[in-house]
């Protein structure tokens, strides 16, 4: 529950088309205008870690259906350039099984990329200043908070259209009312309060994984400084 995949049919066409365009531009820029020069090692990591994210999302904790994303730790290992491609792949493959909309793959890609890149950058910054556990926890919470903020921003951008599709006129106690007003403040409170529980849980888990990896594969985490 650290972030929500936006579904189809809720957002206006201009917004989800813009999501695809911005995602495509980001991929093109990050990949030096489309001339991809990844090493086999990077490609293998990309495939494996995109698969890790997809499988982690399939591990649900009953009875609430909560699942982890492992987005920040994947961002830390893959680095920003590969993160956007991983985010696109994960969202596209999940969209085919109803986990997020097919029309909003571009927007969900942006949200997941923001989570991964923000988490990665925060981890690199905090790694030198804090113990591994604290840096992993803080980076994950900040990364996921940025992702939720991006989701909220997307919904806020499409709020006028959401109001249009949910507006209707009704009569109550003899008076005519027009209902269907999206209260962004209330939406923010719900999204961020539910999200906070998810961020903390994912933060503890990611920190535990990072501590485990730093003991067993120290090169994997420390090498990230060079990227």
């Amino acid at each position: 529950m650290s972030h929500i995949h936006l579904p189809d049919g809720i957002l206006p066409a201009w917004l989800w088309v813009a999501g695809y365009v911005i995602s495509a531009l980001l991929v093109a820029i990050l990949w030096r205008k489309g001339t991809a020069t990844a090493q086999p090692r990077e490609f293998a990591n990309l495939g494996i870690f995109a698969a890790v994210m997809i499988l982690a999302m399939a591990l649900e904790i009953p009875p609430i259906g909560f699942h982890f994303n492992l987005s920040v730790i994947t961002g830390i290992i893959l680095k920003p350039r590969m993160s956007i491609i991983a985010a696109f792949i994960v969202n596209l493959m999940l969209a085919f099984v109803g986990h997020g909309g097919i029309t909003v793959v571009g927007l969900n890609t942006l949200v997941l990329t923001i989570e991964m890149v923000a988490g990665c950058c925060m981890f690199r910054f905090l790694q030198k200043r804090m113990p591994m556990y604290g840096a992993g926890f803080a980076a994950t919470v900040i990364g996921l908070a940025c992702g939720t903020a991006a989701s909220f921003g997307i919904i806020a951008a499409g709020s006028r259209w959401i109001e249009q599709i949910s507006q209707s006129t009704y009569i109550h106690l003899g008076k005519q009312f027009t209902g269907g007003h999206l209260i962004l403040g209330r939406l923010a409170v719900i999204m961020f309060s539910i999200g906070l529980i998810g961020w903390i849980l994912e933060g503890i888990l990611t920190a535990a994984i990072l501590v485990f990896l730093s003991k067993n594969m120290p090169g994997l985490i420390s090498n990230q400084e060079a990227g």
């Binding site: 049919g9 490609f43 495939g47 494996i48 499988l55 591990l59 109803g98 888990l205 594969m217």
Partner: protein, 212 residues
């Protein structure tokens, strides 16, 4: 969400929907989504949703799986409806029917079309490195899912989920997923070595590849 089972249905299904060429299904899906995004009446949206369910049944798809996948957006819808004041039942129904019908159409499309068939069509629009990355991810899911099942068993043997001790549960889960990541990284190294030996150049060749 059992990806093994979902993939099995899409690859080994033999219904009329499975036999329709993937390109035709993809065009039909795009048209259905465009239609659903523009329909504003409850009877038409209900008819579209009923049609999607009927297609799922006649294609011999497991109805329970279709419904479970189709209902995924429910959580988002609940949050959204809590944030809208004065929304009428009719408006709620229109939104719910539209979202579930689109999700249902996508799920039926995917359960009757394999990932490789979809990637082959996408290869006409997406750059080669993106298609290679999609194929790698698809392959990797099945390479590491056995490892995930072993880790899941290990996690349960060590106590599994204990709501009275959430910190200990998360620590155990962290160790289990750490093992899973270490195994995944080792697999990644082996795949990388194999790619180097084969002279990998940012693209892979597959059935239906127009540039191959």
């Amino acid at each position: 969400m059992d990806l093994y089972y979902i993939d099995y249905i899409s690859v080994y299904g033999r219904s009329w929907m499975h036999r329709v060429p993937a390109a035709i299904k993809m065009i039909a899906l795009a048209l259905i989504i465009l239609l659903l995004l523009n329909i504003q009446t409850i009877p038409l949206l209900s008819a579209m949703l009923a049609a999607v369910i009927l297609i799922a049944i006649t294609a011999h798809l497991p109805v329970k799986t279709v419904f479970v996948l189709m209902l995924y957006p429910s959580l988002f819808l609940v949050i959204l409806f809590f944030s809208i004041t004065g929304i009428t039942v009719a408006a709620v129904l229109i939104i719910i029917l539209r979202v579930f019908a689109i999700t249902g159409a996508v799920v039926v499309f995917f359960l009757t079309t394999s990932y490789p068939a979809i990637f082959s069509i996408l290869s006409r629009f997406l750059p080669g490195f993106m298609i290679a990355a999609l194929f790698f991810t698809y392959r990797s899911i099945f390479i590491i899912s056995d490892s995930l099942n072993n880790i899941r068993t290990m996690f349960h043997l060590r106590g599994g989920i204990n709501y009275r001790h959430p910190a200990a549960t998360l620590s155990r889960l962290g160790t289990a997923l750490g093992h899973f990541l270490v195994h995944s990284i080792e697999m990644s190294q082996r795949i990388s070595d194999a790619l180097k030996v084969r002279g990998f150049k940012n693209r892979i060749y597959h059935l239906g590849d127009k540039n191959g």
